[in-house]
């Protein structure tokens, strides 16, 4: 496990030092957060009603945008080949890298999102369920994005393809993430539980799919 810790630490240092991943995701998040009210109109009531939807969809797209960074760099400079020959299985390597992407990009966004919700006049009583659902949901988002990243590893128009492959998988996360913010209490708890079920399921299944795709590209 020490070697996975080393990989996690290295990826976090790289994310911090290069700043590419976190920076672009946060930048994209803020840009969309400014553009949408301009597009939808400044009326407070509509914005308030749409706020959770806007925040969730922007988070989802920001994670997707920075997803191809998970494996691409390591594949290009040959580190992935050496990692495939390490004592740890490739599935664990894929899991660690997706987890590092979550820690460095999706988690900060999902914590910042509710506070940015103030811009959209977000109702205060749903800030807490929104944050909880986003934290769990963003883990599922990063893991599913790692599948897309591994499938489109070395492709020219990989960015476009990753969204077609991954967005359908995001539908359940968006649905239960949003249903946690509807406000009526007996829906909130089940949605959060189902969301954590999806996150845990992706924690197990996503690395298996990602590693299989990586092996295909390493052949």
């Amino acid at each position: 496990m020490k070697l996975l810790g080393a990989l996690l630490r290295r990826d976090l240092i790289l994310a911090a030092r290069q700043g590419g991943g976190v920076g672009t995701a946060l930048g994209f998040f803020l840009t969309v957060l400014v553009l949408l009210p301009i597009g939808i109109g400044p009326d407070q009531i509509t914005l308030q009603r749409l706020a959770p939807g806007i925040l969730w969809i922007t988070l989802l797209l920001s994670v997707l945008l920075s997803a191809d960074r998970i494996f691409q760099q390591d594949f290009e400079d040959g580190s992935l080949e050496v990692m495939a020959m390490a004592p740890a299985s490739l599935e664990l390597v894929a899991l660690t890298k997706a987890f590092a992407h979550w820690l460095s990009t999706s988690l900060p966004l999902s914590i910042a999102a509710p506070f940015l919700g103030v811009l959209l006049n977000l109702r205060t009583e749903i800030i807490w369920p929104l944050t909880l659902s986003m934290i769990q949901g963003s883990l599922a988002l990063s893991l599913l994005a790692s599948i897309g990243a591994s499938l489109t590893l070395n492709l020219r128009r990989g960015g476009l393809l990753i969204s077609i492959l991954v967005l359908p998988l995001y539908v359940p996360v968006l649905v239960f993430g949003m249903s946690a913010t509807t406000g009526n209490p007996e829906v909130i708890m089940p949605s959060l539980l189902i969301l954590s079920a999806i996150a845990l399921a992706s924690l197990v299944l996503a690395p298996i799919a990602a590693a299989a795709a990586l092996r295909a590209y390493l052949k």
Partner: protein, 199 residues
């Protein structure tokens, strides 16, 4: 330790790159792979590294570590040097030491004499220095089998002597080396395998 390959053949993109190759290599032996471009030297190394499977024939490893695959007991130094330019030389080697199972950092740095550049960011290194950083992995983590793909490319005179020193030390320790190269590496190969392939 003994690696044997029986009527090995490999396919890439529908093309048969090479077919029914046989060889076997014991401890302390050096097998040199030669052949024109596209004759499958790299493909053979990748087969040995368990990165891909042969389309025919098989590779067996005798009395190696039973629970590890051949790939997990081998170093594979390809053309790309598997180092991160945002990290320093030391940080790169520390990561590979922890990730591949431990080894002595200073010995690795001295063996490719990169010690003076230890805290230098890799982004500022020259191609030859990056190449030596990749070779440092050989000395860093002790693995019995070395799979080298044109290791001497980009190395100056002094660095090639370092490579020869590394290789002979590895033979004395009973290791095996399979290297694909177009130019003699300064170490006499015990066995030679010429992959025909089209001219």
């Amino acid at each position: 330790m003994q690696i044997t390959a029986e009527n090995l053949s490999c396919e890439r993109g529908g093309r048969t790159v090479f077919s029914n190759q046989n060889f076997s290599l014991g401890s302390g032996e050096f097998l040199q792979l030669t052949g024109p471009n596209g004759s499958g030297k790299s493909s053979l190394l990748r087969l040995l590294a368990c990165l891909s499977e042969p389309s025919l024939g098989k590779i067996t490893l005798a009395n190696g570590a039973p629970e590890l695959t051949l790939g997990q007991q081998a170093h594979y130094i390809a053309h790309s040097d598997a180092s991160k330019s945002a990290l320093s030389v030391n940080e790169n080697l520390i990561f590979w030491r922890d990730f591949l199972g431990g080894g002595d950092l200073t010995r690795a740095l001295d063996s490719v004499n990169l010690s003076p550049l230890a805290d230098y960011p890799v982004a500022l290194l020259s191609a030859g220095q990056k190449r030596r950083l990749a070779l440092a992995r050989l000395a860093l983590v002790s693995r019995a089998i070395w799979l080298l793909d044109e290791p001497s490319v980009g190395l100056d005179e002094a660095s090639q002597k370092l490579l020869v020193a590394l290789m002979s030390e590895h033979f004395k320790a009973g290791g095996l080396i399979i290297a694909a190269t177009h130019v003699p590496l300064g170490v006499k190969p015990h066995k030679n395998l010429h992959l025909g392939g089209q001219a």
